[in-house]
Symmetry: D2
Subunit: 309 residues, 4 copies
Amino acid sequence: MPNDRLDERSKGVFIISVTPFHEDGRLDLESLDAVLDFYIGQGVHGITLLGMMGEANKLTDEESAAVVHRGLARVAGRVPVVVGAGNPSLEAMRRLVRVALDGGAAGIMVAPAIGLRTDDQVLAWTGQVCDALGPDVPLVWQDYPPTTGVYLSASLFSRIVHGSPQVVMLKAEDNPGLNKITAIRAAEAEGQRRVAIVVGNGGLFLPQALARGADGIMTGFGFPRMLVEVFDRHTKGDADGAEDAYDRYLPLVTYEQQPGFGLAVRKEILRRHGALRSAAVRTPGPRLSAADRAELDRLLARLESRLAP
Amino acid sequence: MPNDRLDERSKGVFIISVTPFHEDGRLDLESLDAVLDFYIGQGVHGITLLGMMGEANKLTDEESAAVVHRGLARVAGRVPVVVGAGNPSLEAMRRLVRVALDGGAAGIMVAPAIGLRTDDQVLAWTGQVCDALGPDVPLVWQDYPPTTGVYLSASLFSRIVHGSPQVVMLKAEDNPGLNKITAIRAAEAEGQRRVAIVVGNGGLFLPQALARGADGIMTGFGFPRMLVEVFDRHTKGDADGAEDAYDRYLPLVTYEQQPGFGLAVRKEILRRHGALRSAAVRTPGPRLSAADRAELDRLLARLESRLAP
Amino acid sequence: MPNDRLDERSKGVFIISVTPFHEDGRLDLESLDAVLDFYIGQGVHGITLLGMMGEANKLTDEESAAVVHRGLARVAGRVPVVVGAGNPSLEAMRRLVRVALDGGAAGIMVAPAIGLRTDDQVLAWTGQVCDALGPDVPLVWQDYPPTTGVYLSASLFSRIVHGSPQVVMLKAEDNPGLNKITAIRAAEAEGQRRVAIVVGNGGLFLPQALARGADGIMTGFGFPRMLVEVFDRHTKGDADGAEDAYDRYLPLVTYEQQPGFGLAVRKEILRRHGALRSAAVRTPGPRLSAADRAELDRLLARLESRLAP
Amino acid sequence: MPNDRLDERSKGVFIISVTPFHEDGRLDLESLDAVLDFYIGQGVHGITLLGMMGEANKLTDEESAAVVHRGLARVAGRVPVVVGAGNPSLEAMRRLVRVALDGGAAGIMVAPAIGLRTDDQVLAWTGQVCDALGPDVPLVWQDYPPTTGVYLSASLFSRIVHGSPQVVMLKAEDNPGLNKITAIRAAEAEGQRRVAIVVGNGGLFLPQALARGADGIMTGFGFPRMLVEVFDRHTKGDADGAEDAYDRYLPLVTYEQQPGFGLAVRKEILRRHGALRSAAVRTPGPRLSAADRAELDRLLARLESRLAP
């Protein structure tokens, strides 16, 4: 059953859905249906709603709930759905989590609050979130310092794993971060409770991360099928084939990974796929210039020739 | 009419209201009534709801609207009310502003979004906020780098004043910040549009700021009457009397200004005044230890002897 | 012997010396002699050279060595001297420490390097510093997040105390920071190795810190005698007399504590005391405007009347 | 004459030299000779000593001078040499610049000081540096926010270009940063003084940057010949050939661009080329683990097969 709860054995490609808007900035729930269908058609193993790249922080509470409600209904159990619920307000977080779980979400993702500094503060905050949500909610802990300013060592993660059994997955997006995966897997070999590890960063270093023991990836990217292919080939033992597939898309991976700006690229690619009506990013947010579009045209044309038989 | 709109001639003491919670973290709207009455009884010239020290970011959108609705009804035009509406979501901001203006708010306060870096980015964001809210909404621009990480030079503020006529007040809380007040007043002497300037930081440097040309203060503090006395004496030309009043409370001003922690002190003082049922700060937030309480007891006892005739 | 090495029983007022410059920015070693004599004449129990407020990072390696050499010669064992040696280059640190110890310094102060994030990184860096300097060098660990961006929990400090026996003193300047002092003293009551704790921040919260168990203060301030009086009265059990002395100077304490800017105030006060020929802060650095000078005149005149019998 | 001064028409590949150390952390000047010869053998058009990735901040002033002296002597005018001289101490900067110019350096590179916030502060600091160095020193202004925390808009750069004629080159490493290049070139088309623009970031987005009007690149990378090939092909109008060359190395470009960590990779690659005796990064700094080495082996083997005819 794909909509079972997330656990420490979960794996695969969880695509982070964009949140579609009309050109005038209104939420476009019809396009949400379309883009979710597109993702599933690309073979992803799971979907994440309201990730950071889903412009979650530009939505009202009501809009967030609408996205979760509509998205879960559309996916309808075809793949498990994770809902990003990070919020400086634990009360807002709690209410959104209720909507998510009632709708059949497989798990909840949170990133540490901006302003947490010491290991002890991060640990205390994690405990407060667990208390607020209750012990039955499977949690994905997002390690993404560029936005949060919060840094996670492998030893702090050990304390979290020990203290919060409901943390079942780490979204590992620190950079550099490959040795952290190795360190966590080493701690598990010494008896630490296993957690699933998925990486992110738009796909960057996916082959290396899988070789280090990652269970998959949770990220946005304009060509989800590549992520699926890399994961599948790696799983079947074809590491070189996996890496070949990755390398062919690497110019697009890096281009889409431009901080902040990359989301506009991603939405434009999805629009060109026919998965979005509008590539609009909600204000405040980036817009593509003519030079950007020409650059993207060129990158896509070169991709096409690389993919040609 | 005290509930007229804020403009560039507004002045006085705008107290930033705490947001009361029950011990279990639920919003306590009855105590909101009580604390607003307390503030007005202290002689303040205005009130600000949902400032940063009002724990605004820990409320759901619905709770924020409830605080604004209830607060405006309770104040009932006795003094002008400013509503803090800063939010990474312009849509959430717009909705709250609608509630505020419908309820009779005198103006709206916003702080620049976390992550803005260059002068041009700050200016563009200010324009986006003005566009989102419409030209009729009087705005207070909050300059508070410790939380926002956004820095404002006097020359950038000139560009804002020029480009956004609805910015009628600067909440000046940079530290050091006294020379910025002097620089803005000097620019106005050269023809720049006048704005009201209120300072903050719990009262710190209030006498100096008034001497530099500030029009008042917008801040929280456990003893609002002191702020009123300093302002009134200063206005009447009694600079020394103003500063004497300030100096007597300075140990409490600095104690309440401990970053983050000070809010727990402030709420405890308000509780002791009888203005709050509970001093609870919503999670995540500081709690007073036994050592803190003993320290506060001592500071308050010493204050009392300084005030004794 | 006052120039004995610093240890975990060290206490009192360690004044952080300014570094004097000529108006044109050249180092003024003659004025260093004068200001050191002034400090000792004020009754301080120790002196710190090349603290952050000593503009250490604006000196060349050669100038730093000259300040240490000259300063130690002038103090000549009258009081113990601590030398600030923080430097991103461990090799530069090691060389300066050699100059300091050869000249009779009592200890070395370091602040964690900018860019350290997790507890483990801070611990590892502390170990690297200890390795670089050798086990015989008594270390003061400076906890000053506003400049370093590094945050220290009481539990991380326990790990440092356990792992680095040569760390004999904590310069505790986090804000809020009073509960950290209480927590460290509590851990010591449970058996943790004792360290000396001195606070800083220009004197802010000194009475509270002493009551919490601090052993003294290491800071700059334009009126060192006040710090000595507070410490001495507190030590003799006259807590109220100590706090009265503190309160009289509090307007100056806060004024001098304006981040970055306050150093120009402090140097101007020392110039007025006759302890410096020039109040120049080396470029880049703050300069007092006419408005600043008038403000300072007023604050000093008010101080004088408070001190008048 | 290759050792002519840098000017606004300078272009090509300026490789940022690593600074070699012995295994025990001592500076290895003999290896500096070797690695400089290696770079020149790779066809680079210029060399930069003491860039950020040259571990400049871990050297003493004396060691920095030694690197500059030795490096300039070895290069001996074969290609122009830029010297990184960024330092919180303007006096230390001035002394190193004297060594550099006396030895025949073509220009000096500085990055804005950590802690600068507003456009006005950045502009003022740039003026102070120009004053300190004198008007005859050609300057490269390094725009690298991940380390400096300072952000540069195209409009601020216009003010710098106008106010500081000796700024002849921008090292453009903001990310995203491509539209900034376009904006500066557009301003120049409107009459703004031209500056040379070189990009960095280990080569990332080099084809795009050249198409946007960059004049070259100044960066470190383990395979400098690729950068030269991309530049040369682009210059000859073979944009596709340039991008093909780039794409083949992209997995290594991204791998070496891991923040902080990548320097250890780069030094290991240079060691494997025979250009360094030891890959040691000075403490504090990254070390490659066994897993890292295996990963690098694999990436290099895959590169080799891509390059095979």
